[in-house]
Symmetry: C2
Subunit: 220 residues, 2 copies
Amino acid sequence: MAVPPARADGAPARRRRGPYAKSAERRQAIVNAAFEVFATRGFRSGSFREVAERVGMSQTSLLHYFPSKEELLIAVLASRDGVEPVLDPDVLSGLAPDDERIPAVRFADLITTQARANQEVPGVIQLYAVLSGEGVTDDHPGRAYFTERFAGLRADYAADLERLRDLGLLRKGVDPAVAAATIVALWDGIQLQWLYDADAVDMSRALRDYLALILPTSPH
Amino acid sequence: MAVPPARADGAPARRRRGPYAKSAERRQAIVNAAFEVFATRGFRSGSFREVAERVGMSQTSLLHYFPSKEELLIAVLASRDGVEPVLDPDVLSGLAPDDERIPAVRFADLITTQARANQEVPGVIQLYAVLSGEGVTDDHPGRAYFTERFAGLRADYAADLERLRDLGLLRKGVDPAVAAATIVALWDGIQLQWLYDADAVDMSRALRDYLALILPTSPH
């Protein structure tokens, strides 16, 4: 997802200040505060009260925006979906500007860079693991979010892999839709193992090795 | 894991009937009853009371064996770890008895057959997803179980893949330890997506395609 547009002086673009915009800003402030509280204190011990205090709001007002802790936690996760990682500037350094492998290298680098970035926010990854597990139950407030998130990720990666296939960069016989679901699955699963034993698994290595298998021209 | 030895007449082998054996049998009866209750009623609505009734035991006695619902649920999952799937008898039908690819075909078939079998017990898979997600939190009774389970699975698959590498059946450049963690991760992750939208993903296809990439001589 795109980041908000910025002006030349680096300040955020001016937004319409109607009631909706104000409410959206307040909502974003709550999500930011919740991220800080849950990332530092853990999401089990972090409380609504702390989040409310941090944004200078009563708990009753906070409940107007987020009726349950689960819904606030899911909003924290959803806000992370829009964050694009900073790509490694060196990743293309060995390639000519017109090297035909560049799209495959960029695709693989975006994923492995994001996986490395996730290691810096273990509280968020833990939150993701717990909620995505709990969300499979029928009545969980996160069920719709995760169902849509998975469908969206699969569609995005499948479209990327179809483009790479059309450029002749996808290994012959690899199905873009299956590989898209596999990337998402491998990523979730290796993060889960990492949360249980961080020293035992190398998240970005596992992803890089799989991507090297399906995009064999990549130098990874 | 091995199944209990059976006598020629099909009855289970005779066991020593000491107090420990009796206690272990009672424990197993509870786990079996809990499996039935949680698989049919769902593990949120299935209760200790129902499990106790089914084994003709008071709830207090049941708490002696399993002090919390989580511990009982984890015992249900652990009991499933020992179940080996029935292998497809046709999987080797196209191969000569001395075909050198047989160990790779068997390895891949064991995994994809188990994945298909899991689709028949969605309640157990849901239970696994919820508990393995919750278990990442420090104080969860499942943390030790899942940490050991993941380490054991990675070690087992890595040993299998090293043997396949020594037989020349593993793709050159594939690291057995990384591939072992990847199989477990992909499996967990694709099951999670399947729980959210069973029509959108094909679990055994995703596993089969990955195994075909790392074991390229496999006819899959």
